[in-house]
Amino acid sequence: MPYKKLATASIKSTTGIIMQTYKIFENSSHKWYVIGRDPDKPESIIDTNQYLVVTKNNSLLMDPGGIELFAGMLATIIKLIPVEQISHIFASHQDPDIISSLGLWDQALPDATLHSPWIWEGFIRHFGMENIQYDPIPDKGSDLKLDHVNLQFFPAHYLHSSGNFNVYDPEAKILMSGDIGAAIEAVDSPMFVDNFDAHIPKMKMFHQRWMPSNEAKNDWVNRARALDIEMMCPQHGRIFKGDDVKRFLDWFEALPVGILQK
């Protein structure tokens, strides 16, 4: 698998260290990057992974993060592509750690389109959106073509938000899974799961508390099993690859959710 930590990662700059960047996929038509582990992040803010798909002339920025992350994200992205190449933004759901930076991206990318669940349009616009266009994703999902690359907005409702999507790339075999597979751990943790069993305690409470519906969860697991997934990329924690994807689906299927642990 051609993922590698880029030379851009951990470069010292005038005011600090930029966010870590890994290229997790590359072929002739497009590249996938994960950007995260923000060293300038205030301690009380949850760490997030942002994903970027870059094609010849376009780019999709997924779950761009909160206001606090904006400057770090923008600085990291312009190391990779010109800012105007970000033609599309995706917000898996409405949470502030996903998209509260929207008002700032709205100043930076006035011609971009935001793809997000239709039910959240009236809410997400509260973050400030005067220039960017909102493309509401219907409940059943939809497709997005970036140059010659087809991406799918894959329904993940109630996991955890009542209107929620993942992004699936059938060519790269990557599923950007939003909060599914998320783990709470230190900001300097590795970007990939290296020991699934050791990773479980970091995920268990998150999934049981935030995911409200066993029915929705099992429906998603069944649909996700039908996809060919090489890498599953959550918005918090580490990326699952290879057999760990199947291990995660089995573990998640067996996990009762909607539980308030005492």
Binding site: T15, G16, A75, L80, I81, Q107, A108
Partner: protein, 203 residues
């Protein structure tokens, strides 16, 4: 506007609230004018000098209501302009952070267009804010001047009340008191607003 203009939209909103209160009091003044007219009619000839005064009270009430409403809107618009500028300032300060962090990055020049556009927007918002602030100040001064007549009206009302005989004297004096106290309360809100406008101008 200084860098701490996060206070500015709050202050402008406080001015809007002050004027909202002034509008409510002005509506009471309008009721006072109706009441005065009814009393003057009942008093007949003995209150003939009072009747023209009721028209003045009515006019004062109507001017105060419409002017307070207008100033309230100006202050609300001012608050919005200050909030928009705050958001734009925020974006610019984040862009500046990126310029510091990533000055040698390959695509740093791709930020210039967005940065310049945001700067232009900021300049536009500052001009709009200053214009609205000037207009607000002018309208507040105008209303303050208008309310000076309230004191004269109250005095004249008392003089006319003394001519109306014992039956209506109390009611007409009451009208005079109401005009005076409503005008004083409104003046107080205007004065507070003027002080707040001054603090915005000095900011």
């Amino acid at each position: 506007m200084s860098d701490n203009n996060y206070n500015f939209f709050v202050i402008a909103a406080v001015i809007a609230a002050e004027l909202n209160r002034a509008t409510k009091i002005a509506r009471q003044l309008s009721l006072t004018a109706s009441n005065a007219r009814a009393v003057a009619l009942r008093a007949g000839e003995r209150a003939s000098g009072f009747r023209p005064l009721t028209d003045y009270i009515d006019r004062l009430a109507s001017v105060t209501v419409s002017s307070s409403r207008e100033i309230n809107k100006l202050a609300t618009d001012l608050s919005k302009a200050a909030a928009n500028k705050f958001r734009t300032d925020n974006a610019i300060s984040r862009f500046d952070q990126v310029y510091k962090k990533a000055s040698d990055y390959q695509y740093i020049s791709s930020l210039s267009f967005g940065y310049e556009r945001t700067k232009k927007l900021q300049t536009k918002l500052v001009a709009k804010y200053k214009m609205q602030l000037g207009q607000l100040s002018l309208e507040l001064d105008r209303l303050g001047d208008e309310l000076r007549t309230a004191g004269i009206l109250a005095t004249l009302s008392r003089v006319e009340a003394s001519q109306a005989g014992t039956t209506y004297q109390g009611a007409l004096n009451n009208v005079a008191d109401n005009v005076e106290s409503a005008a004083n309360l409104i003046k107080c809100h205007i004065k507070n607003s003027q002080q707040l406008v001054l603090s915005l101008r000095q900011g």
